[in-house]
Amino acid sequence: MDARTSLEELLQREGITTDDVVLLDAVCRKVDVVGRVFVAYKDGWSRRAASTEISAQDYLMLGECLFRLAGSSKLAGHAWRGQRTKLQNSALKAADLAISREQGLQTPAAKLGDDIIEAFRLEFNG
């Protein structure tokens, strides 16, 4: 299962489950800590099932998915504040990864980055 498809499916579903949170944590870890996302994973996202990294465009779309999830009704409310900001953080880092892989994505990635910053600033400053 690839990260973006899993997140797209999650966006389509009602609510959010414990398994979904585990998936999100795994995706954030790949983006934030490993700094690379591969096209497929197995064993609950603990091991990669392919040696090919996702494309620069996919990093950008992954960032957009994470940002949309952070702003979705699934994660609304004070109890989800931590998870929301964690996803915004990873979305910003995914945008950076997209630019680092392909300079041509500078404009859309910068736009995504600015949108994330605006949303974060609004919530943080109340």
Binding site: V33, R81, G82, K86, N89, L92, I117, F124
Partner: protein, 291 residues
């Protein structure tokens, strides 16, 4: 001065020094220090002093190299940016009620004998190094304070009679992981540090104390005047370490170290955070630089 039945595993830098200085200012020394000396340079990762012919010389050289490297930014800010240093340290001291001369001890050349009668130096390649495990086994049974970051290998928690204390610069169980101080400001709107028993999981052991700190307020013009990376380094040189040190002191003062009992965390609570993106960190730091 009372000697605590505590062994401090020192990973040199402002955090380890703040623990020892806070204890010292509170009237405590510790039974033993295990000083970890890295075989590789903390910044470059290259072997240190391989050209030296004698092993003990390599250890001494590596100790000097890491002392300089791991304390570089606090000393740089103190000497090159004295106004920033003075403001941050005086504001924290005044808000949190401690003697600002504590920072002199943090910045001074290493003098471990000030804090203990026994210093053991252990040269290691990392926490998986058998010499690390052997050094801890020799100290057991005793309560240890681990001053480094990250996870320790699971085997060290099986050493008989060993308990590890650690202080996380964030509010557990809500905020686990990296940049705990900044994430606590985001998630809780508060500054805090948590003393807990370390185990093989990340920031998930039994909690001894969660201490909230009044949010300091530094001059907002620093945001325009100073590179944001330097402000980040200032916070992690002078604010985060002292929050941890004062939290440890509070736990030590609360009772007998051998009798400490924590309360378990609910692992389903809270979020494990990773390092904050610099653009988000800049926004969060404005909460501190707002005067």
């Amino acid at each position: 001065m009372k000697t605590l039945p505590l062994c401090v595993v020192v990973y040199d830098g402002p955090i380890a020094r703040a623990y020892l200085e806070c204890l010292f200012h509170g009237g405590f020394r510790v039974e033993k220090i295990v000083l970890l000396i890295q075989e590789t340079h903390p910044a470059t990762g290259k072997q240190v002093g391989r050209w030296l012919p004698v092993d003990s010389w390599r250890t001494a050289w590596a100790e000097q190299v890491q002392e300089t490297s791991l304390n570089y930014w606090p000393r740089y800010i103190c000497s090159k940016l004295p106004d920033l240093f003075e403001e941050i340290t005086n504001e924290c001291a005044s808000r949190w009620g401690f003697d600002p001369t504590l920072y002199e001890g943090i910045l001074a050349p290493a003098n471990w004998e000030k804090y203990t009668e026994q210093v053991e130096r252990v040269r290691i390649s990392g926490f998986m190094d058998p010499r690390f495990h052997a050094a801890l086994s020799e100290v057991a049974p005793m309560t240890m304070l681990f001053t480094g970051g990250g996870l320790l290998p699971a085997e060290v928690f099986n050493i008989n009679g060993m308990k590890f204390l650690h202080v996380h610069p964030g509010m557990l169980p809500d905020v686990r992981g990296a940049d705990g101080m900044l994430w606590s400001l985001v998630v809780k709107g508060q500054l805090g540090a948590t003393c807990f028993f370390l185990d093989a999981r990340l920031d998930a052991g039994d909690i001894l104390e969660v201490r909230e700190f009044e949010i300091p307020s530094f001059r907002s013009s620093w945001i325009e005047e100073m590179d944001s990376r330097m402000l980040y380094r200032s916070i992690f040189s002078f604010v985060d370490p002292v929050m941890r040190g004062l939290t440890l002191l509070s736990v030590v003062e609360s009772g007998d170290l051998d009798e400490l009992a924590g309360f378990p965390q609910d692992e389903s609570e809270g979020v494990t955070f990773h390092f904050m993106h610099p653009r988000l960190a800049n926004i969060v730091m404005q909460r501190l630089f707002n005067a």
